[in-house]
């Protein structure tokens, strides 16, 4: 069944929305509908976290919101161009990473190894692409699992940068398996993930934090899922490194 209308690149604005979607539906070829009837609105300065298990359509939803793929049903309205970080990486071109960032966004990234972009480690490739994407002059930011492959310091830097952009009025959409330590935000859960009662966080460092003392360079904490983001953000800002985040059993 055809959708009500095709997506607009800079279509009619929903009042107060930087990015909005209505009745989104998508399927590959004639396969089952991966997404159906998804509607959302992200205001300027708003944060939307898209969560769900593997194969629930998080990345597809972000591609629809960002624009590389058009929805089969429904519409997406954006108030401007989108800075989009795709989920898949690993096929960066065989040119110096600084040149890649410079050509894409005119920016730069400190500390990049002096090899071609395609020879960088997965984590560095992610950082290079992230630096290029975040350097784009766009007021809408759509990032698909931006923390994948990043170390704790890079995650903290990313959180700070996104916090600043949110404060400046940019709209941010994230797909996440591991929560990025950002305060607030609406959550769109696409399902497919088992409910989590408690989360276990393993921090690396010495001293005390959150009422517990590290032993052997490690600190184990168990917190409710709702407190996880704030805890991680506080830990990173106090110099702890995040060694692991998982379900408490």
């Amino acid at each position: 069944m055809p959708g009500p209308r095709r997506s607009d690149r800079y279509g009619r604005r929903v009042p107060g929305a930087a990015l909005s979607a209505s009745g989104l539906g998508f399927r590959y070829g004639r396969g089952p509908w991966l997404l159906d009837g998804v509607s959302l609105t992200v205001p300027p300065g708003g944060l939307l976290r898209v969560r769900g298990g593997n194969g629930t359509g998080k990345s597809t939803l972000l591609r629809l919101l960002a624009g590389p793929v058009a929805p089969r049903r429904g519409s997406v309205v954006r108030t401007g161009p989108v800075a989009y970080l795709p989920q898949q990486t690993g096929d960066l071109p065989a040119i110096p990473p600084q040149r890649l960032i410079s050509l894409l966004s005119g920016g730069a990234l400190d500390g990049v190894p002096d090899v071609r972009a395609d020879e960088l480690s997965r984590g560095w490739q992610r950082r290079v692409l992230l630096a290029a994407v975040l350097g784009l002059p766009c007021r809408i930011v759509v990032l698909d699992e931006p923390t994948a492959g990043l170390d704790a310091a890079a995650v903290a830097a990313l959180a700070d940068r996104l916090t600043a952009r949110l404060a400046a009025g940019d709209a941010v959409v994230l797909a996440e398996h591991e929560a990025l330590p950002l305060a607030g935000g609406e959550v769109l859960d696409l399902g497919g993930a088992a409910p989590v009662d408690l989360v276990e966080v393993v921090l690396g460092g010495t001293g005390s934090f959150h009422g517990a003392t590290a032993s052997g360079g490690r600190l184990h904490l168990v917190v409710p899922p709702a407190e996880r983001d704030a805890l991680l953000l506080a830990a990173l800002r106090q110099g702890w490194s995040v060694l692991a985040v998982g379900v408490h059993r």
């Binding site: 058009a70 960066l92 894409l104």
Partner: protein, 219 residues
């Protein structure tokens, strides 16, 4: 509204990728071999010779374009599409192959001027230049459409070879058919035939580009 990534910079990114990957070297070498084979002996009057090399430019430009597109990053294309929109990304994708077609056309016409000693008016060589551009454009557009359809390299090669052979054999099928039937034997075609020989490639190119945009919306 100016795009976040200026199209010229996006095209330079594609060009830098192509240069670094040396992806179009094989097609470029093949084109030089074609010209060398045509002009190794007496190629006859310039216009039939140029019509022949123009017909061969279709598969070779498709090859060069396919190699260029395969060397570019799918991730970067998604980033650029979100920032700039599909039409601008298509332009940025097409600019380096179009530059290759211009260079190949210049080589073919210059080769004809230097190596084909048969007398001919300058308009013949100008016509030959237009024929090369038309066939080269179709090759680029065909490669873009096949790349957007995400077919395998083998299927791409089969489609390009089949399209080239069909176009060379069927007199009305652009780009090669009308070119060869109009000028391949050194004849003087009527106005309608000449117009179709020159305009047909543009029609086919436009159709293939629309198909490319449609296919890219779905992936």
């Amino acid at each position: 509204m100016s795009p976040p990534v200026p199209t010229r910079r996006a095209a330079r990114l594609g060009l830098a990728t192509a240069v670094a990957s040396r992806s179009v070297l094989a097609a470029s070498f093949a084109w030089v071999v074609v010209l060398a084979a045509v002009y190794a002996a007496d190629a006859g009057p310039p216009l039939p010779a140029l019509a022949s090399t123009a017909a061969v430019l279709l598969p070779v430009s498709a090859w060069a374009s396919a190699a260029h597109l395969a060397a570019t990053s799918g991730d970067l294309r998604q980033v650029l599409t979100a920032a700039n929109g599909r039409a601008r990304v298509l332009v940025a994708d097409a600019l380096p192959p179009l530059g290759w077609v211009l260079a190949a056309t210049a080589a073919a016409v210059l080769g004809n001027v230097v190596l084909d000693r048969n007398p001919a008016p300058a308009t013949d060589r100008l016509l030959g230049l237009l024929l090369h551009l038309g066939c080269g454009l179709v090759g680029v557009a065909l490669a873009l459409a096949l790349h957007a359809g995400r077919v395998t390299r083998g299927v791409q090669a089969l489609v390009v070879v089949a399209a080239s052979l069909a176009s060379a054999r069927v007199a009305w099928l652009p780009p090669a058919g009308p070119v060869l039937s109009s000028w391949g034997a050194g004849g003087h075609p009527g106005l309608l035939a000449a117009a179709w020989a020159l305009g047909g490639p543009l029609v086919v190119t436009a159709g293939l580009l629309l198909l490319t945009l449609r296919l890219r919306r779905r992936r």
